[in-house]
């Protein structure tokens, strides 16, 4: 299974198990990337989430 197929499988599982209905990406330098390259990056993102290598992002800029 290549990176793109693995990613497709991941999203299918998320849809079935967690109710995922949509996923969108912001890709930089799209003209230079391959689908495989970006799929691998998305996989690295999810692996990082699973390891706990993430933090709540709060820009601390509320005026309310």
């Amino acid at each position: 299974m290549n990176a793109t197929e693995h990613l497709a499988s991941r999203f299918a599982t998320m849809a079935a198990d967690e109710g995922l209905v949509d996923v969108k990406f912001y890709v930089n330098n799209s003209g230079e990337a391959s689908t495989g390259d970006v799929s691998r990056e998305v996989e690295r993102l999810y692996e990082a989430l699973e390891r706990g290598d993430s933090a709540i992002l709060n820009f601390q800029d509320s005026r309310r």
């Binding site: 912001y26 930089n28 799929s39 993102l45 993430s54």
Partner: protein, 211 residues
């Protein structure tokens, strides 16, 4: 590359509604850096969503961020931690904006196919009206995010100032806490012309509705 005019006008109408709900429809001259946290709060209020934003540490290069939407009205915005803060801000706003402008017809869990369409279409760039909803969604989210962070009326003034040599793109980027590349795009004459037409159509729609 063109996008559906109808979808673009719809996106701009939603931006206007957001700002009205927000209560920070700023008057020319009253310019404060837009609060990302308040933007998220407004989206949650208006659309009944529960949104989580995370920055993620991974070996990245091309992926600035992504957004997931779930059936139970949860959403998760995931931002690459390895990029400059101004890009984190813009990426967060762009991904949040998907939650506003995307209709169900734009939704897809086939993320690998979405990526493939995004990357293939950017390579082709044949200038034809695209029926690729993934591309249209990306273009519109980017345009709408610019309208949120750097409103059209501010940009008209700044474009004139820049032409007169009074300010540079980089100075404006610092002032608004935006990436210079975003400011450059936002002030491009073609982009300003497109936004002028779209805001004109929004005004016409509201006038017809008696708003």
């Amino acid at each position: 590359m063109q996008v559906s005019g109808e979808k673009a006008v719809s996106a701009f109408l939603k931006v206007k509604r957001l700002k009205e709900h927000w209560g920070t429809w700023l008057i020319a001259g009253d310019r404060e850096t837009v609060s990302i946290e308040d933007y998220q709060s407004v989206i949650q209020d208006m659309y009944g969503l529960r949104i989580e934003k995370l920055e993620v540490i991974f070996d990245g290069e091309h992926l600035r961020g992504m957004v997931e939407r779930y059936r139970d009205n949860r959403a998760r915005v995931l931002i690459w931690a390895g990029q400059p803060d101004r890009w984190k801000r813009f990426t967060a706003v762009k991904e949040l904006t998907h939650l506003v402008i995307d209709e169900e017809e734009d939704w897809s869990v086939e993320g690998a196919t979405t990526l493939d369409r995004l990357i293939y279409e950017f390579r082709v760039q044949n200038g034809d009206l695209t029926t690729n909803l993934a591309i249209q969604s990306e273009v519109l989210a980017t345009i709408a995010a610019i309208e949120i962070l750097y409103p059209y009326t501010w940009r008209l003034d700044d474009a004139a100032r820049r032409t007169a040599g009074e300010v540079t793109t980089e100075k404006l980027a610092l002032e608004y806490n935006l990436p210079a590349a975003v400011v450059f795009r936002a002030l491009h004459p073609d982009h300003l012309h497109t936004c002028d037409r779209l805001w004109g159509e929004v005004r016409a729609i509201e006038a017809a509705a008696g708003a």
